[in-house]
C-alpha cells in the first residue's frame, strides 16, 4: 500500500486530505511543518508528498529543495496553494515539483494526480527522471 505525507500547518486541510486519501486505501503520515516533514521522510518510506506552499517555518518550495538534496530526492512533491503567484510557480518548476495545485481544488482530480505521480516514480518515469 502506498504512503503519502501530508504537510500543512492548517489542521482543517490535513484532516480533509487524510479523510479523502485514507478512504482510497493510502497509508498516511502527517506533518504540520516542513521540518517535521523532513524528519518523517528521513525515517519512513514515503511515496508522495502533498505540501502546502505557505507555512511559517519552511515553505513548500524550501521543503522540496531539501528533499531534492536528500537521499530521497526522487519522491514526487505536489504543492498546494491558495495564493498562486508566477514567481512561486516558476520556482516550483525549477525545483522539479510534480504539480502545483491551486485551492480550491477538486479532491478527485488531486487523487488522480497523486496516483499518476506515484506510478511514474515507480516506473522511474517522472517527467524529470525519464
Amino acid at each position: 500500500m502506498n504512503k503519502i505525507l501530508i504537510v500543512d500547518d492548517e489542521l482543517l486541510i490535513r484532516d480533509l486530505l487524510y479523510d479523502h486519501f485514507s478512504a482510497h486505501d493510502y497509508h498516511i503520515s502527517m506533518a504540520e511543518s516542513g521540518q517535521k516533514a523532513l524528519d518523517i521522510i528521513g525515517n519512513e518510506r514515503i511515496d508522495c508528498v502533498l505540501t502546502d506552499l505557505r507555512m511559517p517555518d519552511m515553505d513548500g518550495l524550501e521543503l522540496t529543495r531539501k528533499v531534492r538534496e536528500s537521499p530521497n530526492r526522487n519522491i514526487p512533491v505536489i504543492i498546494i496553494t491558495g495564493f498562486p503567484s508566477l514567481e512561486s510557480a516558476i520556482e516550483a518548476l525549477r525545483t522539479r515539483v510534480y504539480d502545483y495545485v491551486v485551492k480550491p481544488f477538486n479532491l478527485n482530480r488531486l487523487y488522480g494526480t497523486v496516483e499518476k505521480a506515484i506510478a511514474e516514480a515507480n516506473g522511474n518515469q517522472s517527467h524529470w527522471e525519464q
Binding site: 508566477l86 510557480a89 516558476i90 518548476l93 515539483v97 502545483y100 517527467h127 524529470w128 527522471e129
Partner: protein, 215 residues
C-alpha cells in the same frame, strides 16, 4: 563549449538572430526554426541537446511544440520563453515537462547559465539511459546463460568434506551444498560477462565478493 547543439524556435526573426549570434560566439552549434512544424522536422532529422521554444507562436504554441518534440526525443531538454508569462502557462509548462520557463526580455548571460545547466541535465539523462540499457543487456545475457547452464552444466564437486559414520566405520566424504552450487553457477555467469566485456573487472570482483560472502 564545443559541439553542444541547441535549437531556437521562435517566430520572431529578431529573437532567432540574437540567440543564434550570441550562442554561436560561445561555440554552440545553433539551429533555428521559425515555426513549430519546422522545429519538429529538424528534431526528427537531427540530434539536439537543448531546445529554446517561444511560448506564443502563430501556428502552434510552445507547449504543443514541446509535447510533440517529447514524442520524438525524450532526452531533449526544453526551455520555454515568453513575453507574456502567466501562472497558468507556467503550471502547464511544468506539467508538460519543461526544464525552465524564461521571461522575456532576459539577460543573455542568465540564459547562458540556464543552457549550461540544461546541457548537464541532458548528459545526466543520457548516462542514465545508457546505464539502463546496459543493465537490460546484462539481465538478458544472464537469463540466457542461466538457461544454457541448466541444460549443460554437470554439478561441480565442492572442496568441503564431512565426517560420516556407518556400522562403526568413520569416513570423510565430499559435501556439495545447494548454496555452493548456486555460487558456482553465479560466479561462472559473471565470469562470462567479464570475458565478453559486458562488465568491468571491478564489477566482477564486487559480485564475486558478494556471492562468496553469501555461501
Amino acid at each position: 563549449m564545443p559541439n553542444h547543439s541547441i535549437l531556437v524556435v521562435d517566430d520572431e526573426l529578431f529573437v532567432r538572430e540574437l540567440l543564434e549570434e550570441y550562442f554561436s560566439k560561445l561555440d554552440f552549434e545553433v539551429s533555428v526554426a521559425s515555426s513549430g512544424p519546422a522545429a519538429l522536422k529538424m528534431v526528427a532529422e537531427s540530434r539536439f541537446k537543448v531546445a529554446l521554444i517561444d511560448l506564443k507562436m502563430s501556428d502552434m504554441d510552445g507547449i504543443e511544440v514541446l509535447k510533440s518534440i517529447r514524442e520524438l526525443d525524450e532526452n531533449l531538454i526544453m526551455i520555454l520563453m515568453t513575453g507574456y508569462p502567466t501562472v497558468e502557462s507556467s503550471i502547464e509548462a511544468m506539467r508538460s515537462g519543461a526544464y525552465d520557463y524564461v521571461i522575456k526580455p532576459f539577460r543573455l548571460n542568465e540564459l547562458k547559465d540556464i543552457i549550461s545547466r540544461a546541457i548537464k541535465e541532458h548528459q545526466f539523462r543520457s548516462e542514465i539511459g545508457d546505464i539502463k540499457s546496459r543493465i537490460d543487456t546484462i539481465e538478458r545475457k544472464l537469463a540466457s546463460l542461466t538457461n544454457e547452464q541448466d541444460l549443460k552444466r554437470p554439478p561441480k564437486k565442492s572442496k568441503r568434506t564431512a565426517v560420516t559414520e556407518s556400522d562403526g566405520v568413520y569416513s570423510r566424504t565430499a559435501v556439495v551444498s545447494d548454496s555452493d552450487l548456486a555460487a558456482d553457477c553465479q560466479l561462472e555467469r559473471w565470469g562470462k560477462l567479464l570475458k565478453e566485456g559486458l562488465i568491468s573487472q571491478q564489477e566482477f570482483d564486487a559480485n564475486k565478493k558478494r556471492i562468496l560472502a553469501a555461501v
